[in-house]
Symmetry: C2
Amino acid sequence: MLRLTRLYSMTIPKDKLKYIPTNGTYPKGFKVGSVSCQVKKNGNPDLSLIYSSYNCNAAGVFTTNKFKAAPVIIDRDNLQSKLNQNFNSIIINSGCANAVTGNGGLNDAREIINYTDKKLGNNVESISNTLTMSTGVIGQRLQMDKIKNGIDQIVTQLDSNHEHWLNCAKGIMTTDTFPKLISKSFQYNNITYNIAGLVKGAGMICPNMATLLGLIITDAPIEHQTLQNLLTNSVNKSFNCISVDGDMSTNDTILSLSNGQSGGEIITENGNLELYELFEKNYNELAIELAKLVVRDGEGATKFITINIKNAKNDLEAQKAANSISNSALVKTAMFGKDANWGRILCAIGYSNIEVNPSTTNVSFIPTDGSKELKLLVNGEPQIVDETRASEILELPDLQIDIDLGLPGDGQCQFWTCDLSHDYVTINGDYRS
Amino acid sequence: MLRLTRLYSMTIPKDKLKYIPTNGTYPKGFKVGSVSCQVKKNGNPDLSLIYSSYNCNAAGVFTTNKFKAAPVIIDRDNLQSKLNQNFNSIIINSGCANAVTGNGGLNDAREIINYTDKKLGNNVESISNTLTMSTGVIGQRLQMDKIKNGIDQIVTQLDSNHEHWLNCAKGIMTTDTFPKLISKSFQYNNITYNIAGLVKGAGMICPNMATLLGLIITDAPIEHQTLQNLLTNSVNKSFNCISVDGDMSTNDTILSLSNGQSGGEIITENGNLELYELFEKNYNELAIELAKLVVRDGEGATKFITINIKNAKNDLEAQKAANSISNSALVKTAMFGKDANWGRILCAIGYSNIEVNPSTTNVSFIPTDGSKELKLLVNGEPQIVDETRASEILELPDLQIDIDLGLPGDGQCQFWTCDLSHDYVTINGDYRS
């Protein structure tokens, strides 16, 4: 493991080393890499490129923030214009978000993708084969000279090995304390399908760091509309089910590429259902694992909290309740303080604007060491809580909170969040300096 | 001023002494007081009573949280049943919120008002003349013996002087660092009208402390439906325009009483408009001053921030934008860190789900020492910001942020909030112990 920490100039916290893979199997036909353009003042890698020698189908899910960064606008338009087809690369810079930069910023983003096309020798008809993402401080223009120098270098240094994929994940980091990379393979009819995922985002969804960026890359031959639907649905169960601080960025983007180099039949929602569902399962699992890594690295977080809601009116209402709990500063500080203050959980449900029946509501802490559930509220009646037992449960770094709303409708949601600590305040009180 | 700090066993922070009045003129015909029932472990006053020897019209605005505390349910029902008429007292306990306490809690709240009626010698027909409020830890039953002993004492100790009003404000405090009391008088046609306001709420709107409680008491003869409309409208421009942490309590309640002892004509929306508008102006001003005191005492707050939104699509959208900025952990920590990170402000507007046009949006810091405005964003174009100047402005304890959305519609809102500090995390990580 020591080798890994030396790989980066940044010191990775010891308790995070276990989340960094030491090897992986990656989608065939892709080469990746990262370089330092010196946009980041500390000299860490700040430009990453993912390139397929074969044309890819592509999909994207973007922030709904009304102030959209330039790369968000460009990617969304290009995906639409080319009907999610005929892309082969994604170029990502970190350190500057190219957000709220007006027309100049849009031109910069266009120049980046065109310059990348040129350097990759892409055969472009009218619209670029390259997608782009930016993350970092907003309201500042990109230092285009540095970025272009970086592109000149990066195209000469691409490779498909584990080290390159890990460095690629490193190149998209901002306040993240560790690179977030997951790879996954599965077989069907003697064909091996590979998926790789990269993500960045420490203060979830926040303007300056322009979190969250995510990439899901596969060699499976996914039909283009199916890829878009897969991505949209899996984001809804993964990246839309996590929260660090509730802020939503100008740059949030998840992109997906598939180049078909695994071979095998085309995967579509309307074709071989067994294959489709197997692929969907693996794709969704990977998206959820990536999302959980973001929470694991939540700014200043000391606790990883899983919230299970069941028997809500419907799934959407379950998600609203979980989101409200996850964003409550009072719940999050109580968890940081290891205080079994379940009233705050209940209260956050109460103002989430969903249907509740106080007398059918149940709240429990589920210890993550496998010991017995601690019931806090049963059918609206507060239980006499053994505070010593509660403290033991809250001493564990991971916590699960189960909420049964007891309504007909079977709505459910699993959601992940972290606590709110002194360090969150320190990190975010002083981000730009 | 020293006298005041000695009045309470709690030490009041020196910088808060200026918010505590040393005298006041109070509504005629009301007597008030507070005692310690020992529900609060520190022995501070925890039971307050406001009593009018004359029947009052009454109005209430209550939390919209789905988990409503027992006193909220009882008051709302009783106000409705008696058409906002024929009340004469409000009994408030602090230290225990009587929330999520099931039917037992509802019975406790009923017993409190009935017992108060009896001790005051109220001539009750079927529904109590007393309203009630509770604030404190939730999920615990009231210690009724202590409360009843307290009621026995308090009815013998009522008075109408300044000290008693101030102690009454003290008796409703939980994590507040100072009692919040404002009185106001004005004249019309040789008649003097008096209004007094009391409020508690430090972690704004939060489940355990069951913030916010507010009381607006007047001797003006306000017609009962007019009083309810006045209260509803003024809450919308005051208590609904503040935020400390965005959580909304199970107990939030604002009550208003008017006993007509000023004399003069009945004040109604359909009567003497000049008098009505004068009264409305004074009533609204008092509500806004009370609301601002809550922000001044925001848990751990080091900054008082005024947010002005103008040229939104409509007033509601302006309020949504202001609320979103006020609740952003990223904006609040940046303000604590004195970081002129305007991107976070913009971003919070961007996800507030209102209509915006990036290219007509303007953001400025308005220094509260009267010096020149600092433009951060002009028609969507980031300005070159003098960071030294920005730091000077952010060193001031008060900050004003002006946002012009540049849309037709003339929607506007003034909103007040505070920063998010290390101390907020400390206070709320460990509230119950």
